[in-house]
Symmetry: C2
Subunit: 434 residues, 2 copies
């Protein structure tokens, strides 16, 4: 049986999980591909850090270039994160003719074009199932399982932290700050939660998914990104009352005019399975021209789930590493990629949920409905209820029909300039996903 | 670019769908694998039947052996169904060195051992993504996406007809006969619905899934199979009241004692995503030792979805058909399969939902609770309500804790022999899927 020698960059949560699977399930792995995986070297930041996983016999080093330069190593497994040193190491490893397995979504979203081009020139594979939605084999589904399809759109809950926060916000009396604090205490959110809460992590993953789905270049800078910190418990309650859940979605949609790439809070009808995905779990729903809708659900993070994806990639790479190129799945799904127009957010069309405070004065309804009518925006549903306080003001919630973002932005500006409306207008986009 | 010549057996719904994808998405397919698919021959039952799909230029024949014996054909796509002629044709094609792509779950569940052994001897591939759950790439997920895992269990809604009927049974006033008639009128159920309603189709699919999950032989005859025709609208209502949905599940579970293979109506907690899968849609949930729970959802039947899976298989086969064996995914996932004990149903342990009619006589509660206590069965929850009629009888619903099937069968016999209980005891097993 052939031995495949691995070099690991990083021995944190996912690195430890990967080592554990390679040890615990070695019997299964060697039945899936007639090979034995041997971890030869592991690069860590701090050699003195105590480890929970057994590294007996494996050379640990704090010099990561000794891993990517080791001529015996066949596959470099990059689990260190970051986009500077990781990029250099991955490019060096490729240059040395090594295959790459990585969980690094930021690296691929921001430098993927460079990395994949280098790999193609060198004839090595870069596998990255673990980079999106942890343990869910969504890369494989899009690239192979749905190979017969032209993908029309995809929508994903691809950040567990955000989904946990939105799920907890549904509790009566919850508020964003407290929920976030609890999430941090539970280890679901980082001390600095920006990356998750503001949608940057989701935008990295969406960049990769959209490239796979439509065969477009990786273009993280073109993803419209909006976080969830402005979502209130009131929004959750109104959404539920109107038959929706609010989810922080990564969305990639193809229309005749171009594709839209966006991450933002979204009202999704409760009847759509994706709306029922709660807590830290992830899910990606996609629509193919032949298959219609499919959905993939599972844990999006954690040692076991992410390492499960890393090791599945190792098995795939091991199978075809000594085959001709055509035996390998094209790294981004399609052999030739096309440069479809990415729509500016102004051109995107969405139905919207609007919430604002209307003062207790005569004619207020006529005023704000006049603004919307003038902008050509139809109101599909309206709900009004008195505020909790003594003001006599009313909380107004509207569901509009589909309208361009530009028109909606203009209408919101006008609404906010009305004397009869207090404070900002909350706008959350709606996607029916059908 | 290489041309791969296909022979189709069958040009019904799925055959037509396959031809359509090969025509419509030829550009995408040739970017996924540098090859061109050419359908050279199609065998049909009736040459005079009008066709909705364009077969211009393709030789149609009613002599299927001319397809499997054509030396130019590389891959035979078997979409005719049945287990007699289909088996002969598939074995002949394999003998002639052709790869097989099939959607035939019955053939594989009943004759899979013979078919896969023949393919292995001959060094050809038998691909069958379309045989289970239509357009959902569940075979690929189990065999490749979850390759790092030992699968603990899987549970699937793998018959759309049954799921549609159970979904409709939730409507107030619904009854099984009427719902079935509507399903037939809509084309969701066959004129003779036995195959779907009694769980035989689901048992075929479960046989294949279980073999993949645990690396056990295909053994359709060992699947315990129970249909849904005894489920009433009352059961749906009580289940909902107690926080459950009733789903017709295919279940494969591994315990230290052995594996259980079963298809039966099942109460699933509403909070489990699988419980929220409604209508004709399919879904498979599985639990891997490393990844934990994942779920795969989509359309389980129909021309487009099933053909989507057939064509994905064609792409996979095309990629590795001229590679060494180790480049190909082992057809049943693991190189060596193990003969785990399949538990007899008597040994299976389940919590249960019981429903029966108790007469309006003193001491009835003491009587039936005595029977259960004597059998060592704890009652977790009890609900009692008066019958709709004038009898004064009560509808009793119990949720028990986990108990062996043998003990529950004995207890049910005793309950049914009580004078205080009218008619049969309805028993539906519960799975919490956590």
């Amino acid at each position: 049986m052939k031995t495949i020698k691995l070099g690991l960059l990083g021995l944190g949560t996912v690195g430890g999980g990967t080592l554990k699977i390679l040890q615990e399930n070695a019997d299964i792995l060697s039945q899936r591909v007639p090979a034995r995986f041997e971890v030869k070297r592991i690069a860590v930041r701090d050699l003195n850090k105590p480890r929970t996983v057994d590294t007996g016999g494996i050379a640990l080093t704090d010099q990561p270039f000794t891993v990517v330069n080791d001529p015996e190593i066949d596959v470099v497994v990059e689990l260190m994160g970051g986009t500077t040193l990781a990029r250099e190491l991955v490019l060096s490893a490729i240059d040395n003719g090594k295959h790459i397995v990585t969980a690094n979504k930021a690296l691929l979203a921001e430098h993927g074009e460079e990395v994949f081009a280098a790999a193609e020139r060198k004839g090595v594979q870069v596998a990255y199932e673990a980079a999106v939605a942890g343990g869910i084999p969504i890369i494989k589904a899009l690239r192979e399982g749905l190979a017969a399809n032209r993908i029309d759109w995809l929508a994903g809950i691809i950040n567990g932290t955000g989904n946990y926060i939105l799920t907890e916000l549904k509790q009566p009396g919850a508020d964003f700050a407290t929920v976030l604090k609890n999430a941090q205490a539970l280890g679901y959110a980082e001390a600095d939660p920006t990356f998750d809460v503001e949608g940057i992590d989701a935008a990295h993953k969406l960049t990769i998914l959209a490239s796979l789905a439509f065969g477009i270049p990786l273009q993280f800078d073109k993803v419209y990104t909006e976080g969830i910190s402005a979502i209130s418990a009131d929004d959750m309650r109104f959404a539920a009352m109107l038959g929706y859940e609010i989810k922080h979605l990564g969305l990639a949609k193809r229309t005749d005019a171009g594709v839209s790439l966006r991450v933002h809070p979204t009202l999704v009808p409760k009847s759509v399975l994706l709306a029922q995905v709660s807590g830290v779990m992830n899910a990606v729903m996609t629509h193919g021209d032949q298959v219609g809708p499919t959905l993939y659900y599972g844990p999006g993070a954690g040692a076991g789930p992410t390492a499960s994806a890393v090791v599945a990639d190792l098995v795939d790479v091991a199978r075809t590493m000594d085959c001709k190129a055509h035996a390998q799945v094209p790294m981004l799904g399609l052999g030739n990629r096309q440069n479809l127009t990415v729509l500016g957010m102004d051109e995107v069309r969405c139905a919207c949920y609007l919430r604002f405070l209307a003062k207790d004065v005569p004619g207020v309804l006529a005023k704000f409905s006049g603004v919307l009518a003038q902008a050509g925006i139809s109101v599909e549903h309206m709900h009004q209820e008195p505020c909790d306080d003594e003001s006599g003001d009313a909380l107004v919630v509207l569901i509009t029909d589909e309208v361009t973002e530009a028109a909606m932005n203009r209408a919101i500006s006008k609404l906010e300039s009305l004397d009869e409306i207090d404070g900002a207008v909350q706008r959350i986009r709606i996607e029916t996903l059908n």
